[in-house]
Amino acid sequence: MTKKQIWDYSPAPESTDHIQLKDQYDLFINGKFIPAVDGKYFDTINPSNEKKIAEVAESGKADIEKAVASARKAYEKTWSKMHPKERGKYIFRIARLLQERAREFSVIETMDGGKPIRESRDVDVPLAAAHFFYHAGWADKLEYAFPGRVAEPLGVVGQIIPWNFPLLMAAWKLAPALATGNTIVLKPAETTPLTAMKLAEIIQEADLPPGVVNIVNGAGETGKFLVNHGDINKIAFTGSTDVGKYIMKSVAGSGKKYTLELGGKAANIIFEDAPIDQAVEGIINAIFFNQGHVCCAGSRLYVQEGVAGEVITKLQKRMESLIVGDPLDKNTDIGAINSKMQLDKIKTYVKLGKEEGGTIYQTACSLPKKGYWFVPTIFTDVSQSNRIIQEEIFGPVLAIQTFRTVDEVITKANNSPYGLSGGVWTDKGSKIFKVTQDIRAGVIWANTFNKFDPSSPFGGYKESGVGSEGGIEGLSGYVNLV
């Protein structure tokens, strides 16, 4: 089989001359940009070339104190007192300003995080704006969301978000919290702080009352200060299951509420009667979207035996046409791995997969010299007990198994501590309903994968989390029903 690409593509880089980036970003507290109390900064780099983009103030305990105090004051003095209709208008403003500056945000997202510009342009940024727009309208309509109950805000919410969809996760967290009348201290991930700081500029431009949204930066230590702060009413977290469990233990007995969107190891199931070519596209999207840095990625593939040979051959052929490289190039399918740490983790798992007896297939693409990269990888000859089947890798690595019967594949799919998402490919409607009903996971894609919308709840069963984000279920995590 030839491994040469069918087409040669000329470079089509998105220009960066229209974006505005400062060399240094401070914390956003009480409506102002202020340096950290102890004056520390950390670098944020472009993972595709390892160059420093900017430095960002690192929050210590004193900064968290300030941010929470400012959020509390804004909650008591303005935000909870404001007419919900007016609250909604501020959120609409944020949505509009984000749409206006979508191009700039897309480029910065791609530079800071390594994801292909096609994805930040077509998915992350428009969806982030849509989240603000959708939730804005809820602000003065909450009595229709919760029949028989009155929805009251919780107070000050601490939000901690991951690096895989930095701006989008900020929008998922901020929009419902604001619409329901809470004030916020948000901590973006330490490798991807920039779009959140740009969002802070928009929040300032939108003239949101000072202190309603505060943004602090830093790594795990900063997050701990926020989680353990005594004047926080709720923690909303997206990230690993280990950290989620740490948060549950930390807030135990404190009366703090929490919603957790944690890890996943989704089963993507291909039945013999599936439209095979579409399914192959679906497998590609399920595992290689955003370099596989997706908690709901379809990282366990189950193919019915009769079509296993065909599916795997077609999948390998399709993988060869994936373009891995410069994230700013509009033709790029797979960008850079977000950080060195994540790259090392992926490499460890791939080594483990081989040691456990898996057969590895990697595409022949050449990778840039600088930056963090990993080639699209699939494993066959793996079994349920293998660690690459049980544990979340969070990279472009797919593990493939086969099955014979529907009952067998449902058992295998559910044999996981996780339960975030799943995929089913078949032409038979009744089978879709049977399988989607029996898979213990919060989001199921039938004949599609990795689709998101602000009106559509997203959240996990079992060790994939507590609570949902998006839709009415998402709102319910930010209110007390009395």
Binding site: A130, P147, G148, R149, T241, G244, K245, Y246, M248, K249, V251, A252, G253, L260, L262, P417, I432, T436, R440, A441, G442, V443, I444, W445, A446, N447, T448, K451, D453, S455, S456, P457, F458, G459, Y461, K462, E463, S464, G465, V466, S468, G471, I472, E473, L481
Partner: protein, 287 residues
Amino acid sequence: MSQRIDIQKTYKLFIGGKFPRTESGRYIKWTDKNETTVVNICRGSRKDFRNAMVSARSASGGWSSRTAYNRAQILYRVGEMLEGRREQFMAELTLQGLTNKQAKNEINQSIDRFIYYAGWADKFQQVFSRVNPVSLPYFNFTLPEATGVVAAIAPDDTSLLGLVSIIAPVIAGGNSIVILASESLPLSSISFAEVLHTSDVPGGVINILTGYRSELIEHFSSHMDVNAIIYCGHNTDDQKLVEINAALNVKHVIQFPIQDWSNDKHQSPYHILKCQETKTTWHPIGF
């Protein structure tokens, strides 16, 4: 003429639709206020709890996949059976310290609570499900779905109503449950199990243990196959313990520090939702 000797009841556990004694062979001596009646209550063990969990898990799939109409009828049937056993519960509740009037009220409310949730069993999904207007050519809908197996520490200050108020919404939502009955007022819980036994609730859907809270709470909250833990009480150490242990496998935690279960505000479809997951399904629209 010789006087007839009463037949006394042996209070056992209720696991998997059967009435076993505790495997531990231990007992707790329970006496009424005047110490005229003495009953040996099973002192349930960790092993009893684990056996009950196995029953609850194996019953869970079948129960959640029954039609909502069928579940509703079975809950209604529990109400019917309770109604028919008033005398037995009157005797037990008064023995446990209630006046006749209080006992009557507790029975009435317990029956009504089951009927209330029987009515919800085939409606809450309708009220709390949605078709979401996504901005893509997809049909997208969201439904509540049973979380699975619920472990519960029942309220201590009521013998029947508290137990019923916890069990009814959990099973109306398609879950199975293992519940630890009131430690100080345990009698009605096992008689309630007799009601369940005659009311078409499949074995294993509801499992009732008696024993010491302080001994069992650790096991209820740390068991790795429990999906949600309900704690009824005011002890802050217990509340914290439950929340810490819940982190082991990310259980849902439901705290009910409720004083007075007789208030109707403590019955609500939102109680059903506390033990539900949210499932969203996407499918393309096209040719």
